[in-house]
């Protein structure tokens, strides 16, 4: 605690006044108009007691009042408990405040963002006059204040955004931004300074997490000092909270044709500093379909370890798109409420769009490359509806030429059946889309050249191809030989729900593609030949999955399509490849991410809070919804043309684990401590005392 105006403490001399007044002051005698005056005789000439203090409680109150007033005038201030210092000389400063979702965490009944606002206010009061101050937020949509000499303007901008920027006062927009992302913007503000060789500093106020202050370097490229300021002091404990980090769903045909399995990842982020005991907390998690709670389970949550909860639910026949929410049952007092629920759309009849690129078309259907594939897909239609479309390689190239990666926007699985290696451009488009979640199934054949495939799809292939060999012409052997299939590895996720013999055991392959072993690619082998060579392998690439069949899907190299197990094999592999996309029900956006809707007429979009916004399409027939700041279910259009998508928050912002933030050491004479004004509290106390004094005075008068 320091005093900004210690000279004013001379006013303490005035404390003598009430003492003197109470010592010298005469009691006002109570008048009595009396009749029997003749019997009253004055005892002494003067009977006023003077040497004792009159009315000691009142005097004490007055003394204290005066003391507080003098103290308030002397402007008491405490040094900021985070030990933050500012540059002592006038300088150019940018205040960078983290306004990402992690700042929503409530510490001592106020969000971190509100704490950050208070920090900023104290900071503004401590920056030496003559400095120029600018304001930047980690939220790119928040208003920027350029360098200027008016701290008041910066302060009002801060207060305004904290109060009105987010969904509620003090709560940030639920976006996901690191502070480091905003640093270039802050540096840019400092760059166009005419301040000459003045010190340039960036005061970064945020939470001490990896995406907050932990993401910041100590200096910027432009040479400005970055001074990290935690929104709450490191000694303040921050509460733990529970978040739902992920929600997935998949059909569960093994239970019911319309059953879905909804799984969610629940994480308990422990209180900081971390609890010593690794206790397990039990929380209830609820699945809601629409507004109705349909399932509830409890989950044991050790600190920091994500736990998966799984619900199964059977959709009704008439459910086209069902809004499902997984939420914490008693989220009322969670200090970070935005991640306590997560929304997704379930769709039972979410048809798979399978595009088959036919590398070897034929007039005769039985010789056509995709004849067996199409037949197999058709046979599974009673369970899952798959829309299979066939393209020639040049049609594929045309589409990629005209639409780029959006050529595959509606495609769940792309099958390259015995296709000559596509062009670089097409391969890049395919790879981009696979990384976003599209499934890719490559089957080989005569037209597949190992080298070109290896070059174009190097990042996608489960294993690099070596060469195609004829099994029967192994060196030193005269008789024709074939490769049988070993029993399938039923633990492979593609075979989920299948049991026993797949019905592929009798198949024979005459030619197979040999592969280069490469353990770093971590392929998962679903089927292999009896010799041990892999027949069907899969690999996950980012959000997408790739399968490679080392023989043909028609009868050219093997008789696989003739086996009874071919139909479930195709259905399961296609389903597996499309799975990640299906879990997202076609569309899941991050908060704030714009969504383009294809429409010819103005379209109404219902937001999670029940509001409806109307969007008009541009001349290309695209309407862009930019207001996706509310997590939850969105529904655009009506009837057949309904598009649904859900908006979810980024789980990374839920992480509240603290990281050590090294305070920047300025030169000792170069810095002054940030002081937090305390005279407001003193004045409040003085006001209280004033009331007490009035009360005491009134009581004395009444006596």
């Amino acid at each position: 605690m320091t005093l900004l105006a210690p000279l004013l403490l001379v006013g303490m001399v005035a404390l003598g006044l009430p003492v003197a007044a109470h010592l010298l002051g005469r009691q006002t005698p109570k008048p009595i108009r009396f009749a029997a005056m003749r019997f009253l005789t004055p005892a002494e000439p003067s009977v006023t007691p003077r040497r004792t203090l009159q009315d000691v409680p009142l005097m004490l109150v007055r003394l204290l009042l005066l003391l507080l007033l003098v103290l308030a005038l002397a402007k008491p201030a405490s040094t900021d408990d985070a030990g933050v210092a500012v540059v002592a000389e006038p300088h150019d400063a940018v205040i960078l405040i983290d306004a990402s979702r992690s700042m929503e965490l409530a510490v001592d009944d106020e969000t971190l963002l509100a704490h950050a606002g208070a920090r900023a206010q104290a900071l503004l009061g401590s920056i030496p006059s003559g400095s120029r101050i600018a304001l930047v937020w980690s939220d790119p949509g928040a208003p920027v204040v350029p360098l200027g000499n008016e701290p008041g303007q910066v302060l009002s901008a801060i207060e305004q955004w904290i109060d009105r920027g987010g969904p509620r006062p003090g709560v940030p927009r639920p976006g996901s931004w690191t502070m480091a992302e905003a640093l270039p913007r802050a540096a840019e503000l400092l760059a166009d300074t005419a301040g000459g060789d003045r010190v340039r500093a960036i005061y970064a106020i945020g939470d001490a997490t990896e995406r907050g202050l932990g993401s910041l370097p100590s200096t910027t490229a432009g040479g400005a000092v970055v001074i990290p300021i935690p929104a709450v002091s490191p000694s303040t404990p921050t509460p733990g909270h529970v978040s739902i980090d992920e929600i997935q769903w998949e059909p569960a045909p093994d239970l019911d044709p319309r059953a879905v399995r909804v799984s969610a990842v629940v994480t308990r982020h422990p209180a900081q500093p971390q609890d010593q005991v690794d206790d397990v907390e039990q929380r209830e998690v609820v699945l809601r379909i629409g507004d109705a709670e349909v399932a509830r389970t409890s989950v044991d949550l050790p600190p920091g370890a994500p736990q998966v909860v799984e619900f199964t639910h059977t959709l009704l026949e008439d459910d086209a798109q069902v809004a499902a929410t997984v939420e914490l049952a008693d989220a009322g007092n969670d200090p970070m409420p935005s991640d306590d629920r997560r929304a997704t759309w379930l769709a039972a009849d979410d048809a798979l769009e399978v595009v088959v690129v036919n590398g070897d078309p034929s007039e005769l259907r039985a010789h056509d490359e995709v004849f067996f594939l199409a037949t197999a897909v058709g046979a599974t239609a009673d369970q899952r509806r798959m829309h299979l479309r066939s393209l020639a390689p040049d049609q594929l190239a045309d589409r990629v030429d005209t639409e780029g990666a959006r050529a595959f926007a509606e495609t769940d699985v792309l099958v390259l059946a015995n296709v000559r290696a596509p062009s670089v451009k097409v391969a890049e488009a395919i790879e981009e889309q696979v990384r976003r979640g599209m499934g890719l199934w490559i089957s080989v054949g005569d037209r597949v050249e190992a080298d070109t495939y290896n070059a174009r799809f190097d990042d996608l292939l489960p294993l690099r191809m070596r060469e195609a060999i004829v099994v029967g012409t192994a060196p030193g052997r005269a008789e024709a030989r074939v490769e049988g299939l070993a029993p399938a590895d039923l633990t492979h996720p593609a075979f989920k729900g299948l049991t026993g013999d797949l019905g592929l055991s009798g198949s024979r392959a005459r030619r197979i593609m040999l592969l280069d072993p490469d353990p770093t690619r971590r392929p998962a082998i679903a089927l292999s030949f009896s010799s041990g060579a892999p027949a069907l392998l899969t690999r996950e690439v980012d959000d997408g999955r790739v399968a490679l069949l080392t023989t043909t899907v028609d009868r050219d190299w093997a008789d696989l399509p003739l086996r009874p197990g071919f139909v479930p094999l195709v259905a399961n592999v296609l389903g597996y490849l499309a799975d990640t996309r299906r879990g997202a029900a076609g569309s899941r956006l991050a908060v704030g991410e714009p969504r383009t809707l294809r429409t010819e007429t103005p379209i109404a979009v219902r937001l999670p809070d029940g509001r409806t916004v109307s969007l008009a399409p541009d001349e290309d027939g695209a309407a862009e919804l930019t207001d996706t700041w509310q997590p939850g279910h969105y529904r655009a259009g009506e009837g057949e043309a309904t598009t649904v998508f859900s908006v979810v928050v980024d789980a990374a912002e839920s992480v509240t684990d603290r990281v050590e933030v090294d305070p920047v050491q300025l030169d000792a004479e170069q810095q002054v401590a940030v002081s937090v004004p305390r005279w407001r509290e003193v004045l409040w106390l003085a006001l209280l005392l004033l009331a007490a004094e009035a009360l005491l005075r009134a009581r004395r008068r009444r006596d």
């Binding site: 005698p29 109570k30 108009r33 009749a35 005056m37 003749r38 019997f39 009977v47 006023t48």
Partner: protein, 325 residues
């Protein structure tokens, strides 16, 4: 008239009015009025109660001859009966400033008025002539002192009393001097006062007090029945200011200087002096043959009135309130 009745209603509290119902003003002494009344007369006259016999003289009414006595004595004997006369009542009301002390029903003036007006009302009801003499603000008002039995007398008196505001001092000596020639024979004189301060000059109080008692005993000697009703406030008797708070005593009569002191320091001397004063009054009354009724204003007026009637009738002692706390 109605206004006067209202004024009377204000002066006499309801409980006292209730108490007066069925009561009669009876004096233990014989009255000597001009007219026929209700009080036993000091002389013989037309009445029912036997008084004595006396020899017939010429001019006596032959109807009053007692024939049986004549037969026994063998000469004309007259039978005399007790007459019943009216009783003249004069109330002396002290309206000095000190009577203003007290709040509400405990106000000394109100208490005094209730007793005085109640007495006058009772007397009027039984046909006795009534009068009031006032000492107020250093002056004497004897305009209504001569007892009168006229019908509207009570109303006029009530009106006068109700308009009276206590102030100044009561010049007792002047009042008695002015009153003496206006009194009827053997009348009842009721003095209502606090008897704390008897004259305008504080320095000459002992002389004035002696003159007062002389005057009152003179009235008594002339055959008037004098009753002294002393009205005191509990504060005057008990002096309740016992702590050391500063108090400023202001004189209601404006003859003493204002005094500032904590009550604690004044109390003992006051109580001693006040007790001595009361003792002096008691002994003065005994000495002069006056009847003394002492009443505190916290005593209900009805109770004090009953005691007053008992004192007049001689059926009860004054049973005066204890003056010492």
């Amino acid at each position: 008239m109605a206004e006067s009745i209202h004024a009377l209603g204000r002066l006499v509290p309801p409980q006292l009015r209730e108490q007066m119902r069925g009561q009669a003003l009876v004096l233990s002494r014989r009255a000597l009025g001009r007219r026929h009344g209700r009080h036993a007369s000091a002389r013989a006259g037309v009445g029912l109660d036997f008084r004595d016999h006396r020899p017939y003289v010429a001019g006596d009414d032959p109807r009053r001859l007692d024939w049986r006595a004549m037969a026994r004595r063998d000469r004309p004997i007259l039978r005399q009966t007790d007459a019943e006369d009216e009783l003249s009542i004069t109330v002396l009301l002290d309206a000095n400033g000190g009577m203003a002390y007290g709040e509400g029903a405990a106000n000394k003036q109100a208490h005094a008025m209730a007793l005085g007006a109640g007495l006058l009302w009772l007397a009027q009801r039984q046909g006795d002539p009534i009068g009031v003499a006032l000492g107020h603000d250093g002056a004497v008002d004897v305009s209504l002192a001569r007892p009168s039995g006229s019908r509207d007398r009570l109303g006029v008196l009530a009106h006068k009393l109700s308009e009276l505001t206590p102030a100044g001092t009561c010049p007792w000596v002047d009042l008695l001097d002015a009153l003496a020639p206006r009194l009827a024979r053997r009348s009842l004189v009721v003095v209502i006062s606090d008897l704390i301060e008897v004259g305008p000059d504080a320095a000459r109080t002992p002389e004035t007090e002696a003159a007062l008692w002389r005057g009152l005993s003179g009235l008594s000697a002339r055959g008037h029945e004098v009753v002294v009703v002393q009205v005191l406030h509990p504060d005057e008797i008990e002096f309740p200011w016992t702590d050391d708070r500063m108090l400023r005593f202001e004189d209601l009569r404006k003859i003493h200087d204002t005094l500032e002191s904590p009550g604690q320091r004044l109390r003992d001397a006051y109580l001693q002096k006040f007790g001595a004063h009361l003792d002096a009054i008691t002994s003065a009354c005994e000495h002069a043959g006056l009847r003394l009724l002492r009443t505190r204003t916290d005593e209900p007026a009805a109770a004090a009135f009953v005691r007053l009637l008992g004192l007049l009738a001689g059926t009860a002692a004054a049973d005066n309130v204890e003056a010492r706390p």
